[in-house]
Structure formats: structure tokens, C-alpha cells
């Protein structure tokens, strides 16, 4: 009871903090980075559901992001569909492809699945590059409409600037977070974890592992596509490069660095690394060297070698050691 109340109080505090953040720090650049962090949080949580909880190494996650952003952008530009609807249609389009990519995962495991998924995202990147009539090829789509203004009563909220967009992303992150928390704690989530740990063992206790994998690919892709659509209407520019392996490996590094197979881990990883990479961008400008990728590679290697549980694991053991004994079981 006590622990439950403490957890609620903590959640409320964190929630209020993030609600008030744009009032405390009003610098637009800072909010811009926060919005990008939020988009990366959704992406790495969705990748983590597949890799961390289900053990399916999907290296084509950028494709889902790209499908979401292109779908929503094109709908808005060509057909005038409201971006608010586009967010969900983009997610759904990605989910459809997620389901299709899930089918080979029923027969392939480990490195073979990884290679197949890389192939999938490269094919989509090439399609986006070469289908010039629709996508304007490597020029990309620019001038994507922003989210439409919302009128509540007499007040009109416009999404021209970072503070408003920040709240859209905050709500999206909160929704994703609640979804992932509930899912992973449930019978569904434990079924995923058991098939990750031992697929034959999971089947022997009645878990239909194929359909769980398909469902997870679909859901994971939905959130990636949703994040892609959020990005499209925020950056107002998408190019085939959004579907490149770069993005997948950024997301992978965030999830691993934060702590694979946990919920808080990918969040910590995504926020930390988004800010680190912005800082590195300044450094790059002054020393004229492209060090961002080197830094990501190093972080990845060091995490795998010395911090298998990720940032979350380290923080957790520090906190557990600080608490008086007896509290450890919480």
C-alpha cells in the first residue's frame, strides 16, 4: 500500500514536472531538442518491445518510421487529410508492413532475421528514392503541413511553435508509456518474455509463439510509424534518408544504452543520447570533425562490454544500495 502510494506520488511529480517544463525553460532550441527526444523515446520503446521483450532483432525499424512519415505527409499534401488523422493512418500503414515483416520472423531467427529486416528497410528506402513522381526522390518532401489548429471554446491553439508541439509529443509519449507498461506487465507481456527466453519451452506450455510474434511486430511498427508521422509534421521535411540504417542504429544504441528489456531504460537512453548528440553537433562545428557516429559506436561497445543492464541497471543498483536493507525487494 505504502509502496503503491509512493509510486503514484513519484509518477505525479514527474508528470507535473514535464507539464511545467516549457514554462520554466522557454528557450525554443531546448524545447526543440525535447520534442526530438520524445519522438526518439517512442521509437526506442517500440523497438525495445520487439528486441528487448520478444528477442526479435529487427534492424529495419527505420522503415516503419519512414512509412509513417511519408504516409501522413503525402496524405496531407496530396489529399488534404488532416495531420491529426494522418498520425494514426501513418501508424496503421506501418503496422500493416510490420505484420508483413513479421511473417518471415516466424521462420527466421537471430542473424537471419536481422539481415532480412535490413533488406526490408533498404528496399523501402530505394523505393522512396526512385518513385520520384510520388516522393520527389532524394529531394524529399518539404513544406509538409503542420498540425491543424484546434479550437476549444473561444480559444484557438495553433501548433506553429515548439511549446505547443511539445505538449502533443508529451501526450503521445505518455500514451506510449502507459501502453507499454500495461502490455509488458500483463499475461501478453510475460508470454513474449517466455518466448524470448525459450521458444520451444514456451510452445510446450501452450503459447502460440507465431501469433504473439506477429502481433508484436504489428504493434511495434504502429508506434514507430506514429513517431514517424509526428516527426514529419514537426520537421516538415522527410527524405529517404530517414529510412536509412543510421536511424535504426541510433534507436538501437538508445535502447541498449538505457537498458534493453525494461521500460525506463529506453526512455533514459533516448533522452540522454538525443541531448548528447546535440552537444556533439556543437563540438563538430568547432573541431570540424564528424564524431557523432564514432561516439555512438563507442557508447554501444562500452555498454555491451561493461554495462549489460544499461543506464537503468546502473541507476537501479545505486538506488537499491542507498536504500536501507529490507526495502530491497520493492
Amino acid at each position: 500500500m505504502n509502496a503503491a502510494w509512493r509510486r503514484r506520488a513519484l509518477t505525479a511529480t514527474v508528470g507535473v514536472f514535464f507539464l511545467l517544463l516549457p514554462l520554466i525553460i522557454q528557450e525554443r532550441y531546448f524545447l526543440h531538442v525535447l520534442v526530438m527526444s520524445g519522438i526518439y523515446v517512442i521509437l526506442s520503446l517500440s523497438w525495445n518491445l520487439l528486441a528487448g521483450f520478444t528477442g526479435q532483432l529487427n534492424l529495419g525499424h527505420a522503415a516503419f518510421f519512414g512509412i509513417g512519415s511519408y504516409t501522413s505527409a503525402l496524405l496531407a499534401m496530396k489529399l488534404g487529410v488532416s495531420p491529426w488523422i494522418g498520425l494514426f493512418v501513418g501508424g496503421t500503414a506501418a503496422a500493416l508492413f510490420g505484420f508483413l515483416l513479421g511473417i518471415p520472423s516466424l521462420r527466421l531467427a537471430g542473424p537471419y532475421l536481422a539481415i532480412t529486416t535490413i533488406g526490408f528497410s533498404e528496399i523501402l528506402r530505394l523505393v522512396a528514392t526512385n518513385w520520384v513522381e510520388l516522393t520527389r526522390g532524394s529531394l524529399g518532401l518539404s513544406g509538409i503541413p503542420m498540425l491543424d489548429p484546434i479550437r476549444i471554446g473561444g480559444v484557438t491553439i495553433r501548433f506553429y511553435a515548439e511549446p505547443e508541439y511539445y505538449y502533443v509529443v508529451l501526450v503521445s509519449v505518455a500514451f506510449t508509456l502507459v501502453f507499454m507498461c500495461r502490455l509488458t506487465r500483463s499475461a501478453f507481456g510475460y508470454s513474449l518474455q517466455s518466448l524470448r527466453d525459450d521458444e520451444v519451452g514456451a510452445q510446450s506450455i501452450g503459447i502460440h509463439t507465431s501469433s504473439f510474434k506477429l502481433a508484436t511486430f504489428t504493434i511495434s511498427a504502429f508506434f514507430a510509424g506514429f513517431a514517424g508521422a509526428l516527426y514529419a509534421h514537426f520537421a516538415r521535411l522527410v527524405s529517404p534518408e530517414t529510412m536509412s540504417l543510421h536511424l535504426t542504429f541510433d534507436v538501437l544504441t538508445m535502447a541498449l544504452f538505457g537498458g534493453l528489456g525494461t521500460i525506463l531504460g529506453p526512455i533514459l537512453g533516448a533522452v540522454t543520447l538525443t541531448f548528447v548528440s546535440e552537444w556533439l553537433r556543437f563540438l563538430e562545428d568547432s573541431i570540424k570533425l564528424d564524431i557523432r557516429l564514432v561516439a555512438y559506436g563507442l557508447i554501444l561497445i562500452l555498454t555491451v562490454l561493461f554495462m549489460r543492464q544499461g543506464l537503468y541497471g546502473v541507476l537501479r543498483s545505486v538506488v537499491l544500495n542507498l536504500l536501507p536493507r529490507g526495502h530491497n525487494k520493492e
Binding site: L183, R185, S186, A187, S204, H208, T216, G261
Partner: protein, 261 residues
């Protein structure tokens, strides 16, 4: 005793290799059947056929009159057949309690989309379901693991991980339990405990098919033995009969030993 499982002319080929060749047998409810034979005789293949890991090349398997050959492993389990593995296949990154809780999930409404829907509507997770937790704790107590509930499964010593696998199998409420070498790698003291556990499972009214190399175990607990050699059934009967069967002695010790006998 009613007939629970019947295998008819079961054959399994792996490419050119015949692992199981025209094996027929039946298991009654509340039976304890021992499955023995030299290495490579096809014992584990037979268990894999029954549990749906493989489907037979020829022949049928019936469980409570219903044909199960061709069913997938998860379907076979849902019908009431659970198993353990020669090399344990527990879920190492879950806790001991969670391993059993996963086994307890109701398989009648287990479509993933349905489970996902339930997950989103309810705050409480799998571990918050008091009734399941209580049931899981009872099962862990039954196999003697009650003090390890919150331990990560990968930290269990080998003998205890075998017991956890049995508890997880029992969680699926089987009518027939297939045990693939439950005593391998156990020391003499652990062996006695294992025999007692298998007897207690049988007393719950669960039929057991057990693969075993440790003769002490097999002679003490099985009511009936089936002997395989090179994929063929070479003998069947009470442990005493099988023990004296010339074909069995020949399979284990060679022709000369048989002649000397």
C-alpha cells in the same frame, strides 16, 4: 483405467534416417510408463512426436480419442499433455514464480489480440492476480521450491531448475505428463527426492510417460516399460519381464551377453 493416449504405427524419418519405425503403444489414465532404450534409440523423438514438436511421417496419435498427430505443440498442450525437456528449457530471465505464472495463463482465451485488449483495459499485471499467484505458490511448494519464488530462474542450481520445469508443466493442468530424463545429472540424494516427486504427481491422477536411463528410478516407479532400439519397439511389459527379455539384454549389452545368459 481408461485409455488416454494411443499411438498407431508411428514412423518418423529425418531425411534418409528412420528415427522411429512403426511404433504402436497406448497409455492408460493414471499409468506410469517407462520409456527406455540405448542412446539414439529414438526415445526423445517419440516424446517430440507426442508433444507436437515434430509431426510423424506416417501413423497417428490419438489423445482421449481425438487425433493429435499433426497438431502444433501449443495445441497439444492445450488438450492436456505437458512435458519437460532433457536439457531444461525454463525461462532464465523470469523469476521462479513468473515461470509458473506463465504456465497458468488460461489458454482457452489466449489469442494474442484478446490478451492485448485485456492488458490495456486492466491496470493489474500478471503478478497482481492473487488467485494465480496463490496457485503458483502451491505448485512451487509441491515441488519444494517455495523459498525461491522471487529468485531469478537462471540462478537455480541444476536439480532445482528441473523441478521448476516440472512445476511449470503441471501449471498447464495436464492429464498426461511426459518427462524426458528427469533424473539426469542428479546426485543420489536428489534422485530419491525426484522419485518421490514423480510418485506424488502420479497420485494426483496424472498419467506419466518417463524417459530414464537411471534404472533405479525406472524400476521403482514404472508400472509398465516400453523398450526402443533403433527406432523400433522391441519389448513392452512389466519391469520384471522386460528386465529378463533376451531382446532387451541384447540391445543393451550385445549378442554375446545374450548368449551367455
Amino acid at each position: 483405467m481408461a485409455e488416454l493416449l494411443r499411438a498407431v504405427d508411428l514412423t518418423k524419418n529425418f531425411g534418409g534416417l528412420t528415427a522411429i519405425s512403426e511404433v504402436s503403444f497406448s497409455i492408460q489414465s493414471e499409468d506410469i510408463v517407462g520409456l527406455i532404450g540405448p542412446n539414439g534409440a529414438g526415445k526423445t523423438t517419440l516424446v517430440n512426436l507426442i508433444s507436437g514438436v515434430y509431426s510423424p511421417t506416417r501413423g497417428q496419435i490419438y489423445f482421449e480419442g481425438q487425433k493429435i498427430s499433426g497438431c502444433k505443440a501449443h495445441q497439444v498442450n492445450a488438450l492436456g499433455i505437458a512435458r519437460t525437456f532433457q536439457i531444461v528449457r525454463i525461462f532464465p530471465r523470469l523469476t521462479v514464480l513468473e515461470n509458473v505464472l506463465v504456465g497458468l495463463i488460461d489458454r482457452k482465451s489466449n489469442g494474442p489480440w484478446k490478451l492485448m485488449g485485456q492488458a490495456l483495459l486492466h491496470r493489474s499485471g500478471l503478478r497482481d492476480d492473487r488467485r494465480s499467484v496463490k496457485k503458483a505458490e502451491e505448485l512451487l511448494e509441491f515441488v519444494g521450491l517455495q523459498t525461491y519464488c522471487n529468485e531469478s530462474a537462471e540462478n537455480l542450481p541444476y536439480a532445482l531448475s528441473k523441478r521448476l520445469e516440472i512445476a511449470r508443466a503441471l501449471a498447464t493442468r495436464p492429464k498426461l505428463l511426459l518427462l524426458d530424463e528427469p533424473s539426469s545429472g542428479l546426485n543420489p540424494a536428489e534422485l530419491i527426492g525426484q522419485i518421490r516427486l514423480i510418485r506424488e504427481i502420479s497420485q494426483k491422477g496424472i498419467a506419466i510417460l518417463i524417459i530414464e536411463h537411471v534404472m533405479k528410478v525406472i524400476m521403482e516407479i514404472s508400472r509398465r516399460l516400453i523398450v526402443l532400439d533403433y527406432g523400433k519397439k522391441i519389448a513392452e511389459g512389466s519391469p520384471q519381464d522386460v528386465y529378463r527379455n533376451p531382446a532387451v539384454i541384447q540391445a543393451y549389452l550385445g549378442e554375446e551377453a545374450c548368449a551367455g545368459n
